[in-house]
Amino acid sequence: MIFFRSQPGLVAYVTCGDPDLATSRAVILSAIDAGADVIELGVPFSDPVADGPVIQRASERALKNGTRLEDVLTLAEGVRNSRPLTNLIIFSYLNPLIRYGLPKFVKRAKEVGVDGVLAVDLIVEEAGEYRLLMEKSHLAPIFLAAPTSTDARLKKVAAASKGFIYAVARTGVTGAKTDVRGDAQQLVKRIKKSSKLPVAVGFGIANAEDFQAVGKYADAAVIGTAIVKIIEEQSAKAASPEAVAAAVGKFIRCVKKTT
């Protein structure tokens, strides 16, 4: 069961293993303590077609030190044990999940205390077996809705999603600048017509001002690239995991405080 304690809720994305798993753990705990309602644990992938340069670089760093899906699940387990009430989502491209084995992945995700899964390149039509497995294990399948999705497609997305619906704020990859009052607002309005689920808006939400603007029409906002960028900058200065985590925590508090 995923729920947003705060209004609007904040979803924080972290590429796991960037620059190492210890830092990811410290960052995630700090983000939770700073008020993130949901953590998206990003599984690094060699070919992240939906991501901009910042998250591409984070994936490369995570893969360079050998981060695997198994490590991300173990990380989730540790976080779950330390913060029993938080919401944990696995955010991945499909291939690492298939390679691990979908049934095995779903079983293990449930075991470690994950609440939901978002596979970026899995559309509803291709998700038959995946949805069955998720349902059996009471995991929430989260699907993307896009500004280009037709109303008919939004209906399918709404019917297949649990937990929340992830509204992509604009056409494009993660991290590019978004006009949060444009496409995104229209899209949330359209989604709300066919679903009662909470809607989180993501892609390009970079600061307190964006967060506040999105909060006026959506249930939550996803912050990814802005967090990954802080991790990148801090790590480049050889900061300790604790120092990186503190910088991310400060950023999240700052984003939330103004609302």
Binding site: S46, V49, A50, I123, A146, T148, S149, T150
Partner: protein, 398 residues
């Protein structure tokens, strides 16, 4: 993941393979493309226009040439060459580029993007964009730009913008990633002119259809020349567009062996080759479910081939299905065998094939001597070697 049994009759599925694995943002565009293509396919005016361009602009039909001296030298089966290398721009790629550009124009798209490996698809796309007055951006891996620099210049001369890609292995796969990122950003105005029988539905089907003309011609030509069908049809397979184009017309002729030749590279260790059926396993990359060279964690492996056009970790999904059903056989040729084959064909027939196509020649050299003199092989010479002179100078002492 749809299971093989239930997936059989879903459009865009080839057995268990194919499908659509893309971010939701691209789905409306793929649905729009699927509908536009279905309409164009049935439209006589579209087909007439395409046929005329293929004849008068591209130079179809291409000859089927009896390679008499090569046949004698190999001492077995009669070897015929399907001369796609004689087409305008130097390779089969123009068949698909013309088809898709006509479609883009019908759909009212003014901006075309494409990826390219060896540069042949990029040149074909730049060419058709010049012909139709469309804006053209081509993504190309930085490593490929280095080894196929003549084609980079050709594209620019034709008015296209070539954008180098520095990520990953800086080859075809990374160029496709970057083209997909462009498409997902500019999806409302942009047509993605994908260059092989790869990617999300409807691309593998549509690209195949535009290349089926190769097999249609070859089948009629060999019947006319020999009064019978060939015993084997051999083609190189990167993404697999030239191979599926020549294979398709022969699939129902069960006695005709279909042989795809992958890049054996330097060796069959992971990272040293691009032979997906020797070490690959099913997985999802760039929109489609097919055989994929990957590590145990599902990360896509780097690949190597002397030919940029075959240097790709996945393979068109229809080939995956033909492989599993046993209807086609897939082998590989090493860089070294390929260079030897290229030199041999050049000196016995006066035809310098592209490095990609030379992989198919290498397989014919292995196979023809073991066959009977009345048996027949057709090799698809998918492109010409002009673009490869730089690499050949580094590797062959002429």
């Amino acid at each position: 993941m749809a299971r093989a049994k239930e997936a059989k009759n879903i459009p865009g599925r080839f057995g268990a393979y194919g499908g659509r694995y893309v971010p939701e943002t691209l789905m409306a565009a793929l649905e729009e493309l699927e509908a536009a293509y279905a309409k164009a396919k049935k439209d006589k005016k579209f087909q007439r226009e395409l046929a005329e361009l293929l004849a008068n602009f591209a130079g179809r039909p291409t000859p089927l040439f009896f390679a008499e001296r090569l046949t004698k030298k190999l001492g077995g089966a009669k070897v015929y060459l399907k001369r796609e290398d004689l087409l305008h721009t130097g390779a089969h790629k123009i068949n698909n580029a013309l088809g898709q550009a006509l479609l883009a124009r019908r759909m009212g798209k003014k901006r075309i993007i494409a990826e390219t490996g060896a540069g042949q698809h990029g040149v074909a796309t730049a060419t058709v964009c010049a012909l139709f007055g469309l804006e053209c951006v081509v993504y190309m891996g930085a490593e490929d730009m280095r080894r196929q620099e003549l084609n980079v210049f050709r594209m620019r001369l034709l008015g296209a913008e070539v954008r180098g890609v520095e990520s990953g292995s800086r080859t075809l796969k990374d160029a496709i990633n970057e083209a997909m990122r462009d498409w997902v950003t500019n999806v409302r105005s942009t047509y993605y002119l994908l260059g092989s029988a790869l990617g999300a539905h409807p691309y593998p089907t549509m690209v195949r259809d535009f290349h089926r003309v190769i097999g249609r011609e070859a089948r009629a030509q060999i019947l006319k020349a020999e009064g019978k069908l060939p015993n084997a049809v051999i083609a190189c397979v990167g993404g697999g567009s030239n191979a599926i184009g020549i294979f398709h017309e022969f699939i129902r002729d069960k006695k005709v062996k279909l042989i795809g030749v992958e890049a054996g590279g330097r060796s069959l260790a992971l990272g040293e080759h691009a032979a997906r059926f020797s070490g690959g396993s099913p997985g999802v990359l760039q929109g489609t479910y097919s055989y994929l060279l990957q590590n145990e964690s599902g990360q896509v492996a780097t690949t190597h081939s002397i030919s940029a056009g075959l240097d790709y970790p996945s393979i068109g999904p229809e080939h995956a299905a033909l492989h599993d059903s046993g209807r086609a056989e897939y082998v590989n040729a090493s860089d070294k065998e390929t260079l030897e084959a290229l030199a041999l064909l050049s000196r016995t027939e006066g035809i310098i094939p592209a490095l990609e196509s030379a992989h198919a020649v290498a397989e014919a050299i292995k196979r023809a001597p073991k066959m009977k003199k009345r048996e027949i092989i057709i090799i698809n010479i998918s492109g010409r070697g002009d673009k490869d002179m730089g690499i050949l100078q580094e590797n062959i002492r002429a």
